[in-house]
Amino acid sequence: MKNQNTQNNNFYDEYLSDKNKPRRLFSSAFNYFFKHSPSKKKLLAKVRDSFIKTMGVTFRVYDNNELIDREWPLDLIPRILKEKEWIEVKIGLEQRIKAINLFIHDVYHKQKFLNQNPILKSLILESPNYLKECSGVVPKNKIWANISGTDLIKDHRGKFYVLEDNLRVPSGVAYMLENRNVMKKVVTDLFNKYKVLPIDDYTSQLYTCLSNASYKNDYKKNIVILSPGVFNSAYFEHAYLAQQMGIELVESADLFLSKDNFVYMKTINGKKKVDVIYRRVNDNYLDPKVWVKDSILGVPGIVNSWKEKKVAIVNAPGSGVADDKAVYAFVPRMIEYYLGEKPKLKQVKTYLCAFEKDMKYVLENIHKLVLKPVNESGGYGILIGPQATKKELKEYKSKIISNPRNFVAQPLIKLSTTPTLINTSIQPRHIDLRPFILSGNKTFITNGGLTRVALKKGSTIVNSSQGGGSKDTWVVS
C-alpha cells in the first residue's frame, strides 16, 4: 500500500527515508499509526483529549481580547531520537551554556570579551537587556542563567543546529512532562515497543539546581516560585512546577522586605523568610524601585536584597543580556575564548545588521533570508523572506534601515519534518526542539525536551501562541 503525502523531498523527514519508507528505528511507531483505521485514530485522539482535559493541561491565550484557556495541543506521533545522537547534543549544550554563563559574568565585571569585540560591546551597552544595576554582583557559583532552554532544529540533512538560547524565563518544561504522562496512558502498547529514556526526574533536578543557587548553606531552604499571576500564559507551568517540587507558588503581593532587606512571605502563621526565588517575572518588572516603576508584578527593593546576597534570584537579573539574537552570533567565539574549545554544536549563520557589510548583504538578499528583531520572543516580528510579498519586504527593509541594530538575519533553514496526525491522515509537519538545561553544582540536561510542531501545512512557526502544537520526545536506546 502506498501512503499519501507523507514525504516531501525538500526536507529531512525524521521518520521516512528518501524512498518513502520508515527508517528502521521508526518503523514500529510509523506502522502503529499507519495501520490504524480512521475511527481508531479518532478514538485515540478522543482518549488523549479527555486526559488532557481532566489533567487540566492548558495554556492561556488572548483571543479577540478575551483571555481563554486552551487545552494543550499534543500530537500523538512521538518524535524519536537515538540516544547516541542525543549524547553528542548534550555535550554540545553543556559546553555552550558554560561559555554563555562565563560571558554574562564577564559582561557585569571586567568586560574582557567585549573589549576585544568593540561592535558587540557597543551593541550590548545600548541593549535593553543589559542592566547596569547588575554590575559587580556575584551569583552563587558565578552562574547567572541557572535554567535555560535552547531551541534546536534539524536541517535538510538531519543535523542539529542551535536556533536560539532562551536565558530569561524559558517555558515549556511542564508541557514536556505532561506530554509524557498523557502518551503513557494513550499509546501504552507503542511505548512498550521502545526503550524510552525517562524524563520525570526533571523537577527533583530543578529543586537541586535552585537549592544550589542559595547563599545559605544549611539544608532547610525556603524556595519559592514567583509568578506574574493567573493571567500569565505559562501559569499552568508555574503551578505545576511548584506542586511537583512541593514549594510555594507566590505572587508579588505575598512577598515583602523586612527593614534589614530580607525577603519574607506572608503565611497564616505569620512571616517566613525566603532564601531562593525562582522568578517567572521578566527582569524589567522585578523591582519597581529599580526598573519599570509601576510594576505590580515585582517586589520593591528585591534587587537590593539580591545584591546584598540576602536572597538568591534565579535566573539572575541581567542574564537576559545573552538572550539576544545579536549575542547569539558571537557564541562560537565565546566558546573558543572562555573554554579554549571548538564549538561542538553547529549554529545558524547570522548576519548582524549593525555591521555595515552584513546589512548590505541582508538588504540585497532579503528575499532569501529570515529576519528577526533582536528583542522579541514567541515568534513575533519575524519575516520569512521567501514567503513574504514584495510589499512586506519593502516595509521590512525600511524598518531595518531606520534601526539596523534591532535586526538580525539568517538563511532559511529547511526545518525537518515528522509525520503528524492531522485529523485522521498522517502528514509531514515541521518541528523544532527545546531541551532544558539546569546549571548548578552540576549540569543537567533533559532527555530530549519539548518538541514543538507547526500544525499548519508548510508553516515553520511552532509557537503555541501562534497555532503550534507539540509532541512527546522519545530518546531511545
Binding site: 482535559k53 481532566t54 487540566g56 493567573v230 499552568f236 503551578a239 506542586q243 512571605m265 503565611t267 497564616i268
Partner: protein, 295 residues
Amino acid sequence: MLSSIAEKIYWLSRYIERIENTSRLINVNSDLLLDIPHDESNDLKHLIKITGHIKDFKNENTKENVFSFLIEDENNPSSIKYSIEMAKMNSRYLLTMLPKSAWEQFNNLYTDFNNNDKKNSEDLYQIIRNSQRFFAIISDGMQRNDVFNFIKLGRFIERADMLSRIIEDQILRKETHVNKYYQNLQWSSVLKSINGYESFKTLNKQNLNQEIVLNFMIMENLFPRSIKYCVDKLGEVQKYLPKSVEIKKLTKILLDGFSKSNIFKNDNKILKQIDNFQLGLITLDKEISQRFFSY
C-alpha cells in the same frame, strides 16, 4: 501556608458547598410544585430570597425565569453559574494545593456544568453529585493539613449559613402562603432540601411539626446538616489552626440563643435568634479574614 492561598481555599470551599446547596434547594422545590396546587401565592420567588439577591431579580415571576436566574444568570451573585465561575477563579491558584484527583474532579464539575443545558433536574443532580464527589475526595484521601482545615472551615460556615436561611424563609412563608394542609408537605420538603428527610424519620416517627423539625435542623448532634453539627465541626477544626483565640470565642457563642426553652414554637423568638446567628457568622467570617487572610 500563604495567606493569599488560605483565602482562596476558604472561598473555593464555600462556593462549592453553595453550588451543591442551591442545586438541591431548586430540585426539591421543583418537586414540591408538582404536589401543591399551583397559584400565584405559591411561587418560587422565595428561593431567590433565600439566596439573598431578590432586588436584582427584575424579570416576570415565572418558574422558568426564577430557575434561570438562580442557575445560569451570570450577573446574579447568588446564581450557581456565578458561584461556579468564582470557584473556578479561585481554583486557578490552587493547582499546587489540592490533591490532583480533587483538582480533576473540580474540572469535571466545571465542564459538566458548562456542557449540560442546566434546565432539568438531572442536570442539577449532576452538579450535586459532582460537588459531593469533590468533597468525598477531600475527606477520604487528603492529608490533614492547613489546606484541609481551611476547606472544612469554609464548607461548614457556608452550610450553617444556608441552613439558617432556609429556616428563616420557611417560617416567614408559612402563614402567608399555603393552607395548613400543605404545611406538612412543606416541612418535609425543607428536610429534603437539606438531604435530611430519612435521617429525620429514623429519629422522629410522628407527624411533622415545626418544633421537632427545627429541633432536628438546628440542634441534632448526629446529622451533618444541622446547625449544631456545623458549629461543632468549626470548633473542631480550630484546634489545628494557628493561634485563633478570638475565632474560638466567636464560634463558641454562636449557638447560645438556641437553647432557650420553647424557642422553636415561637416564630418571633426563633426569627430573632436566627438573625443573631447570622450576625454571628458574619462576625466570625470577618475575624477569620482578618486573622488569616489580610495582607
